[in-house]
């Protein structure tokens, strides 16, 4: 057992990952431990690094489209939404209203799928094996619906500049409505099985505290930020697409502990259902793909586009020199910033708590590493 000679206390280092069941991918956390207590937790990232930003520079914007879905593969559609939105913003192309509605519906479905996966995986981190099967049961329904319209189940390439690649039909609307009904009735099951469970509550309540100040210092966004009581959601604060047309709330928590994050995520699913329902009710008729020129150059200059993914703010910043390929494409991913306060958060917590916090952060490692 190696001990740290510089330290007065007898502490030792523990390598958690890159292959560890609860780091959700190839994340390594270097832990300085004192018994079972974590003295310091330093994330070591980059094992899944694919140099997406360089890929963005070496491909035309059209060629980068499929890559945008491979950032956050659990909630791929909002990521694509951001990239397509950016190109549309730069070129001034507008998608027809029906396409915008479809984008919102599919993005929100994807958000629900992502939250359901998180819910199951989070409980798996806490040692409950069964909930993940129930959430997967629900998530499969979403994936079936999305597969029907996009053609794939995980890494969609569905959004196009000026619209979407395929129109939705009546069976899609029916299936989605049926899914809304189903998920609403399932929340009771999750409440019974998880939310009220005394072991679960004792495991997640008051362990670590996310604060608004910490969120500002580290750029933490998404449900974790909202759990601290700050009502910040790109969909409301810097609305894009047709989000302003819907009536929905941004759920916020109070205390900013992991139980609040959990509650915020569950309530977000309900709000997403509300958005989908309204969008289905008001779905306009018309084309889903605007006429776009086959060769489309990006004008010289820069633009930014931020979207709210399931994990927080994802923003693209593109600089173009007027050529075929972007001159620089910066991708800001939410998990990158959400993970960075880990060392500050996890001081003097137990190893089990660290696993719980990692689960709360809802990390998608390829999105951090890009």
């Amino acid at each position: 057992m190696t001990t740290n000679p510089d330290n007065q206390q007898q502490s030792f280092f523990l390598n958690m990952g890159p292959q560890h069941p609860s780091t959700h991918g190839v994340l390594r956390v270097l832990l300085e431990m004192d018994g079972e207590y974590v003295r310091d937790a330093e994330p070591v990232i980059g094992y899944g690094h694919r140099m997406q930003e360089k890929l963005g520079e070496s491909r035309t914007w059209k060629g980068f489209m499929p890559y945008s879905a491979r950032l956050d593969y659990v909630g791929a559609l909002p990521c694509s939404h951001g990239f397509i939105g950016l190109i549309e913003r730069m070129t001034g192309i507008e998608a027809p209203p029906r396409a915008e509605y479809i984008r919102v519906i599919t993005s929100e479905l994807n958000r629900i799928a992502s939250h359901l996966l998180w819910l199951g995986a989070f409980l798996l981190d806490l040692g409950a094996f069964t909930p993940i099967m129930y959430t997967f049961d629900d998530r499969e329904q979403v994936l079936d619906i999305l597969e029907d319209v996009t053609g794939s189940r995980l890494t969609y390439c569905y959004f196009r500049v000026g619209g979407v690649s395929r129109d939705i039909d009546e069976p899609f609307v029916e299936k989605t409505r049926a899914f809304i009904q189903r998920l609403r009735s399932r929340f009771k099951l999750y409440d019974d099985l998880v939310t009220g469970n005394i072991i679960f509550i004792k495991r997640v309540q008051d362990i670590v505290q996310f604060t608004p100040d910490m969120a500002m210092r580290y750029g933490v966004t998404g449900p974790i930020l909202r759990s601290t009581g700050i009502r910040y959601d790109i969909r409301k604060n810097e609305p894009y697409s047709v989000y302003p047309e819907f009536d929905f709330e941004i759920p916020v928590g109070e205390t900013g502990d992991c139980l609040e994050v959990y509650r915020v995520r569950l309530r977000e699913m309900e709000q997403s259902l509300r958005i989908i329902e309204q969008a289905l009710d008001r779905l306009p008729q018309g084309p889903v793909l605007a006429k776009t020129p086959r060769q489309l150059k990006l004008p010289q200059g820069d633009a930014s586009f931020a979207v709210e993914t399931a994990r927080g703010e994802l923003s693209y910043y593109l600089i173009s020199d007027g050529g075929e390929t972007p001159y620089r494409l910066k991708i800001r991913t939410p998990s990158f910033s959400n993970l960075s306060p880990l060392s500050e958060l996890c001081r003097n917590v137990l190893l089990s708590d660290l696993v719980m916090v990692l689960g709360t952060l809802d990390l998608v490692i390829p999105e951090i590493d890009r």
Binding site: I45, G46, H49, M51, E53, K54, E57, T60, G63, L86, R89, M90, T91, G92, I93, P212, A215, M216, R217, Y218, G219, V220, T221, L225, I230, Y232, N237, E238, T292, P293, R294, Q295, L296, K297, P299, Q300, G301, D302, A303, S304, A306, E313, S315, Y317, I319, S320, D321, G322, E324, Y327, R328, K330, R332, F336, S337, S340, P341, E344, D369, R370
Partner: protein, 181 residues
Amino acid sequence: MNKTDQLIEELSRLPAAVNRVDYRQRGYHLEVRLQAGQVPAFAGLLRQREFYLVFVSAVHVSPAIEIIYQFACFAQPCRILARSTVAADGTLPSIANIFHGANWHERETRDMFGVVFTGHPGLEPLLLPEEEADLKPLLKEEGALKPADQIRRAPDEEVQDTKPSTTAEPGAKKPNVEHRQ
């Protein structure tokens, strides 16, 4: 006087060149141009005004690498994009002690561009392996490097007409023949 106007005034006192831009075209509200030395003061100001750090990154243009900062605010829709050119010795003051999240962003920027942030608590490689610390993959090659004014949008320029362009596809996209049979 609303908050944004106040902010613009405070920023100009730094002094920094502040531009209001069209959000619908650019995706941000304010464009700020900074001298390298003003960066910490600028970050400190935004920290007081309760902004959060979106990202720190860079772009390689001639004559020198430009560092890009983006900030946004939880309270009001105000997204700020700030630019600063690195000093001649390739360094820039770090803001990692003001916005702690900048720690990782600056480490990443050092990985990709080799920019040294002075005052950073530990500028080790973040994404790239330590043994390839000299890789700097996002630096442009000789032919691809553009002067800074070629990546700027002209002020008040309208969005370009989206007529079909007649130019041919670039030769660079030709497939690499030896990999595929």
